[in-house]
């Protein structure tokens, strides 16, 4: 379970998060919508303590993450998968090495078990043939999917997706959405999905939050979003309709 309490974050004069609170119950998916530059990535990064909020508390599995020692924080991070908006693949490593990296460091698996797990995870994202490629040889969409595979490889309990389908074609986007749901069913993960993609949002979400000007202006189920009279919600929905 993830609980965010009253998070404030500003960069200089720019107030990005202005007292944001929400809770993601275990095994459910919360989607965060919001315009570009509104602070969605910043919010996700606060949750893994890549960015320190100015004020507020974040609890993961009941632990206040700002009170953890580095060792405790790292133990917690092993249970969290984070898909970066930019995929953030390690440039100097091949796809195989990128995926093996967390396994080599955090498991006792043998070389052949690691190879097996790498291949299995690549199959999951439909990119088995890319195993020997370098990140620079991949298209944007392929990078995204490799990044997804890397963040899933330790079978985390919590997955944070930062725009998992941006830059992908509609067919692949749907597959990714399906993958998010499959992984959810299979591993009972707790998910936060940041996205602009209404197909992903409506199909994966148990609950949708709409971030604007530092706070949530909508909080409800996908059905409630569709019926919502809030202007921004309508604008987001219209992108999926036309």
């Amino acid at each position: 379970m993830i609980r965010v309490e009253n998070i404030y974050k500003r960069f200089g004069d720019l107030v990005v998060l202005n007292g944001v609170s929400f809770e993601v119950p275990k095994g459910t998916t919360t989607v965060i919508l919001g315009r570009s530059g509104i602070g969605k990535s910043v919010l996700l990064k606060c949750i893994v303590r890549l960015i320190e909020p100015d004020d507020g508390k974040i609890f993961i599995e009941g632990k206040n993450i700002s009170e953890l020692s580095l060792k405790e924080l790292n133990d917690l991070r092993k249970d969290i998968g984070f898909l970066f908006q930019s995929a953030a693949l390690y440039d100097s490593m091949s796809v195989r090495e990128n995926l093996a990296f967390p396994l080599v460091r955090h498991t006792d698996l043998s070389d052949s078990e690691i190879e097996e797990r790498v291949k299995e995870t690549l199959r999951l994202v439909g990119l088995s043939e890319a195993i020997d490629k370098m990140p620079s040889e991949l298209s944007g969409g392929m990078r995204k999917r490799i990044g997804l595979a890397r963040s899933l490889i330790l079978h985390p309990k919590i997955m944070l997706y930062d725009e998992p389908t941006t830059g992908l074609d509609p067919v692949t986007s749907k597959e990714i959405a399906k993958l998010i749901i499959d992984m959810q069913n299979k591993f009972k993960m707790t998910n936060i999905v940041v996205t602009h993609d209404m197909v992903v949002a409506l199909s994966t979400a148990d609950r949708i939050l709409l971030l604007d000007n530092g706070n949530f202006i909508f909080d409800g189920t996908p059905d409630e979003l569709i019926k919502s009279e809030i202007d921004m919600a309508k604008k987001f929905l219209s992108t999926s309709l036309d």
Binding site: V48, L50, R77, F82, F84, A88, Y90, F101, R105, H106
Partner: protein, 256 residues
Amino acid sequence: MKFVENIKYFFSVIGGLTDFTIRFFLEVFRPPYEISEIRKHMDELGVKTFSIVSVTGFIIGLVLGMQSQPVLARFGAEMFLPGMIALSVIRELGPALTALIFAGRVGSGIGAELGSMRVTEQIDAMEVSAVDPFRFLVVTRVIATTLMLPLLTIYVDFIAILGGYVAVIITQNMTFPYYIQLILDAIRFSDLIPGISKTFVFGFVVGIVGSYLGFNASKGTEGVGKASTTSVVISSLLILLIDSVLVRLTLIIFPD
């Protein structure tokens, strides 16, 4: 004024470097040691600098020999030429020039590499996957540069002495064994130690400066370029500054 700003920036970097250095020494003796990563970096550094230091080393020895020959000849002291070449190379030219080339090639490389890892969130990704990027990226690189520069310097010393021999035989008849004999007669043990030991310090400087600036690169491709070029400027400056202090110190510890 630009100049004042540069001075301010230089001192802010020195401050940051001090923190980084302390952190390095806190981390370096703790396992796991990432030996394979260190070896990989050392290989890369060797490959990257081998040809340029070979050429430079040879030419330095050659030019030094050709320049000094007529001077010594004027005093009828041509027999001292081999010793003089070797002493200049081992005590100063070898270490300083190799370090400066190293700063240019390797310092800029580390700055750019870590800078682009910072800018493209690879360092963040590593942190989130519970691997300490400082240990994995910085400590391994600094160890590699610290160990590699002394090795390269010893190699450059040899090559430069070889270049010096070519200068000698242009004007004199001298066999190579005799040339080496004259050198061995001229140098003392106390000539070797300071020249080599200071290259550990220079290697450390190149590694830590490049890592620090890369690690703290600001967003955008501009940040990567800046990390790379600033690494060269700052590590070269520090090498020259530290060198002048160490030369003085050496003369106090090993008086002639």
